[in-house]
């Protein structure tokens, strides 16, 4: 009885190619949390999705014992807060008196995850949706974004969580690595050339179980971009 209940405790409403959903899958895998994955048909959203996220009507939505949590970065922080005995995504806060150093490390992680949210998805969309000069502008912007992220990574193996483990920023960013190939094809540039250390980081992440299990192949993503382009009449 207890095992069956546990299975139903975490339910993720998601869509296979969504990088925001993949963040949640990878986070739960890193934390060793069992969850039920439910694929939504975005053209025919389930009642459960619409009831759970009436404000945005978007995936991912995490239901924990029936209560919905929405917005991927909010979900990631919720997983840290609600499951404190699992591996942390954010560097742990000092619980006793608010250690400023720990708080600073957390603020840095939040800042960079926010940077990924603000910049990457939107610029990537412009890369495949636009042509001519606007597309070229998107490519220049994408190169700058990748280089900025690479500069933040520095010579570290991962952005956060020492000891070969993925941290908050890694989990926030890694799903977009499955889109690098599509960005390269649409934008006419090479991630390896413009940001080699970031490309190495992406390969390193790809060897981690939770990532390998939950990210689609770059080719599948590119096929999906092809479908989107057709749908939006982009040639």
């Amino acid at each position: 009885m207890a095992a069956a209940k546990k299975e139903k405790e975490l339910l993720l409403l998601d869509f296979w190619v969504s990088p925001f959903g993949q963040r949640c899958r990878i986070a739960m895998a890193e934390k060793g949390l069992e969850f039920e994955y439910r694929e939504e048909d975005l053209g025919n959203k389930s009642d459960l999705l619409l009831r759970s996220n009436p404000v945005h009507r978007k995936i991912p939505v995490l239901l924990h014992a029936g209560r919905p949590v929405c917005e991927s970065l909010v979900i990631l922080q919720y997983l840290d807060d609600a499951f404190p005995d699992t591996p942390h995504l954010l560097p742990p806060a000092n619980s006793s008196s608010g250690d400023a150093d720990a708080a600073y490390a957390r603020a840095t992680a939040r800042f960079w995850a926010d940077y990924v949210d603000k910049k990457l998805y939107d610029c990537g969309s412009r890369l495949w949706r636009l042509k001519g000069e606007p597309q070229a502008a998107a490519r220049r912007e994408m190169v700058e974004i990748l280089r900025t992220l690479e500069a933040e990574l520095g010579y570290r193996e991962f952005f956060g969580g020492g000891g070969g483990r993925l941290g908050f920023v890694d989990v926030a960013l890694v799903p977009f690595t499955a889109w690098f190939y599509s960005y390269e094809r649409c934008g006419g540039f090479s991630v390896e050339e413009v940001a080699p250390r970031l490309a190495a980081w992406a390969r390193r992440c790809g060897r981690i179980d939770s990532v390998a299990k939950h990210l689609p192949s770059p080719e599948k993503v590119y096929d999906f971009v092809g479908v989107l382009k057709k749908k939006y009449g982009v040639e």
Partner: protein, 243 residues
């Protein structure tokens, strides 16, 4: 400008007086009773300190704590929450986020919603060239407030012992919380927008609970003196900035 901070901490806030994103940080600093040095930036001539502290976005607010910069207003708020928890750095221990993980998630969700659905239109209203764009953006902001009135008010925390969620004065319950400071930071500009384009964004006829909340928020000690209230001064500042 308040000089000096408690216990050897050096705290500096780079801002502009009329930015909602700066104001919300000031409110939380007030709530926590933490003293800091405020530095008014000229956005047309940004200081080396600002550009060096926030090279990625080059924007205010930036909080500099013992020489270490933190940028992005909601990131700063969470930092203050953690670095100035109960008693640390001479703070009052006032908290803007609830302890319960689910309630924290709800607060973060609504704060992100406010900046996305109220903040983006606010920006458009101020900086779009065509009046039509401004009016359309105002309609989107109003729609967002209606969603907040219906949704976030229902989601209000009830951390307090005596009040229940339905009658809690603030989104944070008995005391001002995360969603309060994020949404409240736009209130000064709503009056300006009404004068600029004749659209009332915060309207008691449309969102009565929010309108009452707005009055309570603006009357709070930590808020008075922070939000810009001189409508004409704001309009003049905006005109100067645009030209």
């Amino acid at each position: 400008m308040v000089v000096g901070a408690e216990g050897g901490d050096e705290l500096k806030l780079l801002g502009v007086w009329d930015s909602p994103y700066v104001n919300r940080v000031q409110v939380v600093l007030n709530l926590k009773g933490v003293s800091y040095e405020y530095v008014e930036e000229d956005l047309m001539d940004k200081s080396d300190l600002l550009l060096g502290s926030n090279p990625v976005h080059k924007k205010v607010p930036v909080l500099i704590h013992n020489g270490k910069p933190i940028a992005e207003s909601r990131v700063i708020l969470e930092y203050l929450e953690e670095a100035f928890a109960a008693g640390a750095g001479g703070s009052t221990g006032a908290s803007v986020l609830p302890d319960d993980p689910y309630k924290r998630a709800v607060a973060r969700f609504w704060a992100a919603y406010v900046d996305d659905k109220v903040g983006s239109p606010w920006y458009t209203i101020l900086f779009a060239r065509e009046r039509e764009e401004k009016v359309e953006a105002a309609a989107r902001a109003i729609s967002a407030l209606e969603t907040i009135e219906a949704g976030a008010f229902r989601d209000r925390s009830s951390e307090g012992k005596t009040t229940n969620a339905a009658s809690a004065p603030f989104f944070g319950g008995d005391s001002i919380g995360f969603v309060d400071v994020v949404l409240g930071s736009y209130l000064g500009w709503f009056r300006v927008i009404e004068k600029m384009i004749g659209v009332r964004i915060m309207d008691a006829a449309r969102t009565p609970r929010l309108a009452a909340w707005a009055e309570r928020f603006e009357a709070a000690d930590a808020v008075r003196g922070v939000l810009p209230v001189d409508v004409d001064k704001l309009i003049d500042f905006l005109q100067a900035f645009l030209h």
